[in-house]
Symmetry: C2
Subunit: 331 residues, 2 copies
């Protein structure tokens, strides 16, 4: 068997309570005693059992993270922000991919709750009533990161997607375009819907009609961007400016346009969304909406720590600032 707190106590001629105190840095221990205990901990190679501690103290210092797909750059960057802050506050992270599958998401929430996580950071979309019920009845705090719950009933960290979509479109319009297109993923995801609304709003402002031929719905992949161009340029009304819902899509769009023998930005201007590292990995470099992805993760985790410590929080639905960075894919 492994060496336990009890072995240390016996060997050091103190009670296990004392050992527990020095392990937990409780100041109520005489320095000499502390030193003696530390020494025998070292000798015996004692390693505290966090599971036992968790059971006794009802705190596991681990938080659950539910994420659509860690292999997607956007989410892995988010996850990095979460882990860094978690680490800073001495938490560990149980990370699970949901693939946006509702059943799996619900199951994951329950598994994590069974494992007695102290809190959960949730990323996803299409929040159903079942999701909300789980969130609301959860015994531990839950914070949404980069995922929108329209009624703001659950703490969250986001940017203003609609405003960002509006601004991106506006930039294209201000450059003189009247034939705009929006390339997005499945529209159920609320963030993309908000971007879409921003797009529509900007067009309506100059009394441009928005019909389905202006919008291409695929997934969030590079390939989907390629396909979008195929479809969009197969029409009589070819767009001269494209707003893509993610950088990866935007890369696909730009390459698709180039494959057609057209020039970006001379013939077609393109603007992306997220400002992942991809934005610099293309020629022309990509103009895009800067979404502070890492920060969203970091702030969400920070917010969660406040709830876990039962601290006062002023704003439970944080909106982080975004900006537009103009590079070479727009004029």
């Amino acid at each position: 068997m492994n060496v336990t707190i009890y072995d240390v106590a016996r060997e050091a001629n103190v009670s296990m309570a004392t050992v527990s105190r020095v392990v937990n840095g409780n100041p109520n221990v005489k320095p000499a005693t502390r030193k003696k205990v530390l020494k025998t901990i070292e000798e015996l190679g004692y390693r505290p059992n966090a599971v036992a501690r968790g059971l006794a103290s009802k705190r596991t210092t681990t938080v659950g993270v539910i994420i659509p797909d860690i292999s997607n750059m956007f989410f892995s960057e988010l996850a990095r922000g979460i882990d860094d802050i978690a680490n800073m506050y001495k938490y560990n992270i149980i990370l699970s991919n949901s693939d946006q599958n509702i059943d799996k998401e619900i199951k994951l929430i329950n598994t994590m709750l069974e494992k007695q996580v102290d809190g959960i950071v949730y990323m996803g979309s299409r929040l159903t009533d079942e999701h909300l019920k789980e969130f609301k009845t959860s015994p531990v705090p839950i914070v949404l990161a980069a995922t929108i719950e329209p009624t703001n009933a659950i703490p969250s960290v986001n940017i203003d997607y609609e405003e960002a979509g509006y601004e991106a479109t506006k930039l294209l319009i201000d450059n003189g375009h009247t034939k705009l297109a929006f390339v997005t993923g499945l529209d159920e995801t609320t963030a993309n819907k908000a971007k879409h609304q921003g797009f529509v709003q900007a067009l309506e402002e100059i009394e441009l009609t928005v019909d389905q031929t202006n919008v291409f719905r695929g997934d969030l992949s590079y390939q989907s961007g390629l396909k979008a161009v195929e479809s969009l340029f197969d029409q009589t009304e070819k767009p001269t400016a494209i707003f893509a819902a993610s950088d990866e899509i935007a890369l696909g769009v730009i390459h698709g346009i180039q494959d057609l023998g057209l020039n970006v930005p001379a013939d077609v201007e393109v603007i992306g969304f997220d400002n992942t590292r991809l934005a610099m990995m293309i020629r022309p470099t990509l103009s895009t909406v800067v979404q502070p992805v890492y920060d969203i993760g970091a702030v969400a985790m920070r917010l969660l720590t406040k709830y876990m410590n039962k601290e006062e929080v002023e704003e439970s639905n944080v909106i982080l600032p975004h900006q537009i960075i103009k590079r070479s894919s727009t004029k």
Copy 2:
């Protein structure tokens, strides 16, 4: 307080042992009893406490994953493979970023061991004696993924990096080049060292001298690829073919070359490594060494499950096949 197994037992008029049995799917329960218990579990909204279970059973069904940087595409893809297989075997994952920092790596191993993980998947490089000591004295199995331990004393899953490096270089040589360069990350990382050795071996085979001007060491980023070109083409002996240690570096290299007004592959041929999704996200599309990243993670996790179940394993140091895929950045 939360509802416990004891509450269920009382409410269902059985002992907690029986409840435990039905929760754990133990067949020695009369169907009628099982049904009754299940019903009151439902009514009471009982959720088993995995921490208590872990303490009593000494199995937590969670494994630790130590990873250099989840926001790096290569590793996030690996992590995805790990999580998918973990999930398949009902394990959860505690994921932590190490940034290749030795102290942090050691600390993480200990934290995870304290949390009583059933096993660990480790990714990193520069394995010190301290690492090996931790690995060897660990009370639970550890598997290395995409990280090389020269003596093969620890179970691992890799590809043959040296052979792959050799083949990539050979392809360039066979295309008639004599001025080759290798762009890599910090050379301490053993996988990159192996690639380097393959590069050297291929050159020596045709009696080409290898000196430092042929090799550029930076980090594994796109920016570093850009810098490499700057440096390499600032010499009198400019390379006509470049082998990059990662796809991300290769993208930087290609763009750097293009920024110089040169053409890829006409003036300079480039081959990458990994075959991440980036390889398709560039023009010309990138020829590269296909490293089955996802599979490395998946196989590593699978191997770990075998150790955790104390199954027989035939080969503890798995070498997965690699291949070279020719796209448009080489002739």
